[in-house]
């Protein structure tokens, strides 16, 4: 008998073991906990359809539905008794922080709803209560709600009341908790036990639809214009969450998610969507200092210290270290700043010397041009001086002969005044040209600069050839960013050279100036009809003190080069085509790319 038992029982046990091993891979049971906020019976009714649908979508799995209250669900998660939970947004956030669950889907009211804006609150009053028009009028009233823990049923409205400066915790308004179901809140408002009541979003519409309430019997306070499908008094928050427990295998989570998303909407039109961002719920709970943020209410120092002492100690240590580091860096910065300041001072001195040298060179060049033009300048000055002398002598003669009429005196005096002003103007022009001056950069039309230089040139020397300006429509328009006087100095130099060259060749053809574009710069060409120069002399033209003229200083073109380079350009000389003659070409910066009007002092 003993052997028979062994013979029979052993294979049975082995079979049982084998069965157990087979059933463990994969786990057939999927344990889902739901928040039963209106009692187990209600929850069974509400979620059974979902469970049936899910079971269809997950063949080979055995779905087990369990109901919990808020604390019970947390405890079950802690014990590892659940694979998934379905709960309201506020509770989800609490569990996320405390039990490490992670959402895989969010419940939405219908396909068009944004998962992040599903749950909300409507604060209702009897329509005839004309003394309560908006949320702010609730101060000193009573407010019915199902429970302090209800998210859409209380907390959302609570947060909104706080936002407008009311505090139900201090009885403004005084909350009256009726417990579930929410129909009790409606009753409390209807029979006057409470001045107002909090309903979750869209419940009012449903009650009006099924005839429980007469449309317009209850009025929603401070309805939000940005929510269309239901009347609400506060912003909408994400819907209920379907979340996986921390130990749930990712493959299972994925399968359940796929199943949830492929479900068709239930009888109430609700369906599951991709998980929403629950951050606004966090903020709300933090603001209300409830759920995971309930500790914020513990303001007693000892409890804070108990909770945070490692952090506080760490922070103090870090502050100390940071202070020491800052002192060290400050010391280093001061030393380096000193070194840098010294280096910059030296650099600035050098730069100032260079600039001074260049300005002296400019000055010398202008003086040399003035020297060459002095004869004609004297002539220019002689005209007004001679006129003044004539008037003065005439007045004396008339006075002596007793024929001085008041009108004549007036005419002469006016002429003398205007001629002396003219002479002063000529002198002022020379002085402005000859004196040392600051660097200037201004926006100017290049064609106007050329024409102005041409006029100066014609006025300074008798019998000079004309200056012809060639400019096409493409190059007209953009201004150049220059020192106008320096550019005129370059042009006058080139004109003077051109004329000298043409006089040598006995030619009085116009000097030709062409304006063009060279990339982002303006290009100017000055062409003469002189005899030209051999290539080796052309190359040396821009050297200081190199000259081909018997009375020349050899500074003009080297100054031109300095000026053009100070404008960031270059100056070149080539043989004219067709010859003979030379073409001087230089470029100037366009005003567009330069900064707004600025003046750099030396």
């Amino acid at each position: 008998m003993k052997s028979l038992f062994r013979f029979l029982v052993a294979p049975l046990l082995m079979a049982l073991f084998a069965l157990a091993a087979w059933s463990a891979e994969p786990p057939r049971q999927v344990r889902i906990g739901v928040l039963a906020w209106q009692g187990a019976e209600e929850a069974q009714v509400r979620w059974s359809a979902l469970m049936d649908q899910l079971e269809d979508k997950l063949p080979g799995r055995d779905l087990v539905l369990r109901h919990f209250d808020l604390d019970g669900m947390a405890a079950a998660l802690q014990a590892g008794e659940l694979d998934f939970v379905v709960t309201n947004p506020g509770h989800y956030v609490f569990l996320e922080a405390g039990s490490g669950v992670s959402r895989i889907a969010t419940l939405i009211a219908d396909a068009s709803t944004d998962p992040a804006h599903v749950v909300g609150s409507a604060v209702v009053v009897l329509d005839e209560r004309r003394d309560i028009r908006a949320l702010a009028d609730l101060k000193g009233r009573t407010l019915a709600a199902v429970s302090q823990d209800a998210f859409g049923g209380y907390q959302v409205a609570w947060a909104e009341l706080r936002r407008i400066g009311l505090n139900p915790e201090q009885g403004q308004p005084q909350p009256v908790f009726t417990d579930f179901p929410m129909s009790r809140v409606v009753e409390a408002v209807l029979n006057g036990d409470a001045d107002a009541g909090v309903l979750r979003a869209c419940l009012l519409e449903r009650l009006e639809q099924d005839g429980t309430l007469r449309p317009g019997q209850l009025r929603v306070l401070s309805p939000r214009a940005d929510v269309r499908h239901c009347r609400v008094s506060a912003p909408l928050y994400p819907g209920w969450a379907f979340a996986a427990a921390p130990g749930t295998p990712p493959a299972l989570s994925r399968d359940v998610l796929v199943a949830l998303l492929s479900l068709s909407p239930d009888a109430a039109g609700q369906s599951w969507s991709v998980p929403a961002d629950y951050h606004p719920v966090h903020e709300l709970l933090q603001d209300l200092q409830i759920g995971p943020y309930a500790f914020l209410r513990e303001t007693a120092w000892p409890s804070l210290w108990e909770r945070y002492w490692p952090w506080v100690s760490g922070l103090v240590l870090m502050l100390l270290a940071w202070g020491a580091y800052t002192l060290h860096v400050e010391h280093l910065v001061q030393r380096r700043t000193g070194e840098l300041t010294a280096a910059m001072d030296a650099g600035q001195r050098l730069e100032a010397q260079l600039r001074e040298g260049q300005q002296q060179m400019d000055h010398l060049s202008r003086l040399s041009i003035l020297g060459e033009l002095s004869g004609t300048l004297a002539h220019e000055l002689n005209q007004p001086l001679a006129a003044i002398g004539n008037y003065a002598r005439s007045l004396l003669r008339r006075q002596d002969s007793g024929t001085l009429a008041p009108a004549a005196l007036r005419q002469a005096a006016e002429e003398i005044a205007s001629e002396s002003e003219r002479a002063a103007g000529i002198l002022g022009g020379i002085r402005a040209f000859a004196r040392k001056r600051d660097r200037v950069r201004e926006a100017h039309d290049p064609a106007s600069l050329v024409r102005e230089a041409g006029r100066l040139f014609a006025g300074m020397l008798p019998g000079v050839p004309a200056v012809a300006v060639h400019q096409n429509a493409e190059t007209a328009g953009p201004k150049v960013w220059v020192d106008p006087l320096q550019v005129q100095q370059v042009l006058l130099n080139l004109f003077k050279n051109a004329w000298d060259a043409q006089q040598a060749a006995g030619c009085d053809a116009p000097i030709e100036v062409s304006l063009g574009r060279d990339g982002e710069r303006c290009a100017l060409e000055v062409r003469d009809h002189g005899p030209g120069l051999p290539p080796d002399e052309r190359e040396r033209l821009f050297e200081a003190f190199f000259t081909t003229k018997p009375d020349g200083l050899g500074l003009g073109l080297s100054i031109c080069k300095t000026i053009v380079e100070a404008h960031g350009g270059d100056i070149t000389v080539t043989a004219a085509e067709p010859g003979p003659g030379l073409v001087f070409r230089f470029t100037l910066p366009l005003a567009d790319e330069a900064p707004a009007d600025s003046r750099e002092n030396s």
Binding site: T376, H379, Q383, A387, S394, R397, E419
Partner: protein
């Protein structure tokens, strides 16, 4: 200003308006009648007649388009008897020399003293009057000689050269008596009493009349 016919007129041609006006003012200060012109073309457009009381032109040598020298040439070609005073600027001495060769009366280098200028104008007006007077005398002499017949003019020229009646008769191939009659007519028509008077009359009408 309207020029009065019994006064000399000074024309000032200079493109530099303030300076031109100052010269006019100066000229008027000493009682001259003066007119300004802004260019050679403007002067030629007005083409002022030479006044019986005399006058002159003060001309800037360097002007745009038609220069002072060119204006002087055109005036001479038109037989103008206006004397010309040139004003020159710095470095225009060569031009001034050319102007003198071309018959300018005087030149002043700017800037000039007012007295120098007024003296030059005074001289020029004097010259213009002399020129005008000599022109008038020449015209009168020509008018007198025009009254003679061709044969009488021939006889008068030979008599003015100091030839006797017989020599004139032989040269012209006519009788002594005929020469005597012509001589009587010439003396009556020209109101001259001697061969010497006759010679002066002929030279007044044409300085080269006895060559």
């Amino acid at each position: 200003m309207t020029a009065s016919p019994d006064m000399p007129v000074i024309h000032v041609v200079d493109d530099e308006a303030p300076f031109r006006r100052s010269l006019l003012f100066l000229l008027e200060s000493v009682g001259w009648q003066a007119v300004g012109h802004e260019s050679a073309e403007a002067f030629l457009a007005v083409a002022p007649a030479f006044p019986a009381a005399g006058g002159c032109i003060v001309l800037d040598i360097r002007m745009p388009r038609v220069s002072g020298l060119e204006l002087q040439r055109r005036l001479q070609a038109a037989g103008s008897s206006f004397p010309v005073i040139f004003m020159t600027g710095h470095g225009d001495v060569e031009l001034a020399v050319q102007a003198m060769k071309d018959g300018a009366l005087d030149f002043l280098q700017k800037p000039f003293k007012d007295q120098l200028f007024l003296d030059a104008v005074e001289r020029a007006v004097q010259v213009s009057l002399e020129r005008h007077a000599s022109q008038r005398r020449q015209g009168e002499a020509q008018d007198i000689l025009a009254r003679l017949s061709a044969r009488e003019r021939e006889v008068a020229r030979l008599l003015a050269l100091g030839l006797a009646n017989k020599e004139v008769a032989r040269l012209l191939g006519i009788s002594d008596n005929t020469v005597h009659v012509h001589r009587q007519h010439v003396m009556e028509k020209t109101a001259t009493g001697s061969a010497a008077d006759l010679a002066r009359l002929i030279l007044r009408a044409d300085p080269r009349g006895l060559d």
